[in-house]
């Protein structure tokens, strides 16, 4: 007994635990369910509609995906961090309205408006996060309140400043052309016009993935969502992490808001309501757990891609677009069930 205590033999490997094959490890990744769904959907629409796989229509699908995907990046990170945000849809419009109306009202270069919009977007995120960590209310309540307030502010301030339901046109103002080139241009790749948002999307996903998997902050995000008390006990700055995540969502909202503004030259103040669910759906389809602590940025991107394919695929297949919402609901349900099964199986093995 004395000998064993002084120099313990390493425990014999538990014979009940088999080695996991690389395939099983792959199945354990959060985005696998979504990837399978995306492939099935892609093959399906390719068979049903011959136009779907043409490069130009595919670029359109990618564009549709990117407008959801840019937000899904932030929303996925936030969800992994254990919170979610119902104010994202209208916050995008708030950002665009701020940029256009501020520049228009004071007759400034539109870039000043763009900069102010960034401050406002980050500010909205900060306030969401700050109220959340201070009051310890659930994010559902806090961001629902923000959602309602922003919806009201968007309508009321727009009417007050421009006497209408949309922001005034800023197409003739200084800096509009350069801002449009940055936020709403297209890049020609092998004869196909690809919208610049697609590249924003890809860059954001890459940065988010790197942060999540290869930095301290990523570790803190997983920990804050997985078990906030445990994280706090080992010295993780949980409140800062959560506020930072809300601000990251704000940043994504700013990028999309600027695109919405400069793709045209004005913004409808009542837009955006309901879009917050699309971002959350993309993140959930992509394998992020609603309860936090699990998921990936790539998953959110695949979720957005599924959304884009379904959205445009229905058009290319010449079906009635009325079916889209039904289809979306079904996708959400199936994807979540598949994720659940895949995750359980992977964990059991």
């Amino acid at each position: 007994m004395t000998q064993t205590l002084a120099k313990p033999a390493p425990l014999a490997p538990d014979e009940r635990i088999g080695r996991r094959s690389p395939f099983q490890k792959l199945l354990g990744r959060p985005e696998v369910g979504a990837l399978v769904g995306a492939i099935v959907l892609f093959v399906f629409f390719s068979v049903v509609s011959s136009t779907f796989i043409q490069p130009s229509s595919f670029a359109t699908v990618l564009y549709g995906s990117s407008t959801i995907g840019i937000m899904a990046v932030g929303v996925s990170l936030l969800m992994i961090g254990g919170e979610f945000d119902l104010s994202t849809g209208v916050a995008v419009i708030s950002s665009a309205l701020t940029a256009s109306m501020f520049a228009w009202y004071f007759s400034l270069n539109v870039w000043v408006g763009v900069a102010l919009a960034l401050v406002v977007s980050l500010g909205i995120g900060f306030i969401n996060g700050w109220i959340l960590v201070k009051t310890k209310l659930p994010s559902f309540i806090v961001t629902l309140a923000t959602f309602l307030m922003l919806t009201g502010l968007n309508l009321a301030l727009t009417r007050m400043i421009s006497n209408g339901v949309s922001s005034p046109s800023i197409a003739q103002m200084d800096g509009f052309a350069s801002a449009r080139a940055v936020f709403a241009s297209s890049v020609n790749i092998a004869g196909v016009e690809v919208k610049i948002t697609v590249f924003f999307w890809i860059v954001l996903v890459a940065v988010a993935s790197w942060v999540l998997l290869r930095t301290k902050v990523g570790n803190w995000i997983f920990a804050s969502g997985g078990d906030a008390n445990a994280a706090r006990a080992v010295g993780v700055p949980v409140t800062k992490t959560k506020i930072g995540l809300f601000m990251a969502v704000g940043f994504c909202g700013w990028v999309l808001g600027m695109h919405n503004l400069f793709a045209f030259d004005s913004v409808q103040s009542g837009e955006g309501v309901g879009n917050e669910f699309l971002y959350i759906i993309a993140a959930v389809i992509g394998g992020c757990l609603l309860t936090g602590g699990y998921g990936s940025a790539v998953g959110g991107a695949i979720g957005a891609f599924i959304f884009g394919m379904a959205n445009k695929g229905i058009v290319y297949a010449q079906w009635n677009p009325d079916w889209f919402k039904f289809f979306l609901g079904l996708m959400l349900l199936l994807a979540t069930i598949v994720n659940l099964i895949v995750k359980r199986r992977a964990e059991l093995k």
Partner: protein, 305 residues
């Protein structure tokens, strides 16, 4: 209970007891007390922790064990008495203070995030990075290697440090938490009821890691309500009851039976027998409890009625 006379005896055989011969204890409490408002949660507790020694704190629910560790871990401040670290009087204002002088606590809920891989949990809050400025990234390979190595040192062979920690057994998770505290420079390790939720075999595994930590020179404070777990690994035993110390023994001055008897509380048992008798109809149970009381009375040399 054949296991109780293990190694401790051989270990202490030719050694002077540090309790009486070392001038400075790693950690020492002298008549420490704590009130919550008008409730006295802890009073007059004296104990010491030394390198390579295990100090067990025993007591039933509500005995003041939690209050005691919260004071040592820096979550609460004591109102009376003196707490000394390496001979220097201290009053911790936060858990960080306690951590900074090398007092690490492994809580019952372990402070691990179940869905995260073992290595991420191991380094959570103290991640290793390489690179500069905004491009600082995690040194993943190094952290994995260290995790594997540290756990192997503790005698745990982990198949895969990429596994979510939630897949480990309760005992293994406890060991990861202990290994983590040891790696991050703990001098005093507080273990809050590490065996409370574990089965017999797993408890044995954890007890072995307690000895591992001790052999690496740490001062261990082992909180438990189970004398059968405390006795084999402990060097000193502090018994708490209703916020007071009812005994502080050196291993050589006490036997497991005495410890158990002290813990069991002959008076309570006698009272239980009395109550059961009044209820009537539980003849066999009453008889059993009474014989227990007799046992306790015999070992402690006191009479209960």
């Amino acid at each position: 209970m054949n296991a109780k006379e293990i190694d401790q005896q051989t270990l202490l055989q030719n050694e002077t007891d540090p309790l009486t011969h070392t001038p400075v204890h790693l950690l020492a409490l002298d008549k420490v007390g704590k009130n919550y408002g008008n409730i006295v949660a802890l009073s007059d507790v004296t104990m010491a922790v030394d390198n390579g020694r295990v100090t067990c704190v025993l007591g039933d629910n509500g005995a003041g064990k939690s209050t005691l560790i919260k004071i040592i871990a820096g979550l609460h401040q004591h109102d009376h008495g003196v707490l000394k670290v390496m001979g220097e009087e201290r009053k911790f204002t936060s858990p960080r203070d306690a951590l900074d002088v090398g007092i690490a606590t492994v809580y019952q809920d372990l402070a691990v995030v179940p869905l995260m891989p073992i290595w991420r949990n191991f380094f959570l809050g103290s991640e290793l990075t390489s690179g500069f400025g905004p491009f600082k990234s995690l040194d993943v390979q190094k952290m994995k290697d260290i995790t594997k190595h540290e756990l192997a040192e503790m005698g745990i062979d982990l198949r895969d440090v990429e596994q979510p920690i939630g897949q480990l057994s309760g005992g293994e998770r406890q060991c990861v938490a202990i290994a983590r505290a040891v790696y991050f420079g703990a001098k005093v390790l507080i273990l809050d009821e590490p065996t409370a939720a574990l089965g017999v075999k797993q408890s044995g595994v954890v007890l072995r890691y307690i000895l591992q930590a001790r052999d690496r020179g740490l001062g261990v404070i082992f909180i438990t309500h189970n004398p059968h777990h405390a006795f084999p690994v402990g060097d000193r035993f502090l018994l708490l009851k209703r916020g007071k110390s009812i005994g502080y023994y050196d291993k050589k001055d006490i036997t497991l039976d005495e410890l158990t008897a002290q813990m069991a509380g002959g008076a309570e048992l006698a009272e239980l027998a009395h109550e059961l008798e009044q209820l009537g109809g539980h003849g066999d149970v009453v008889k059993e409890v009474k014989s227990e009381v007799a046992d306790v009375a015999q070992t402690t040399g006191k009479a209960y009625s």
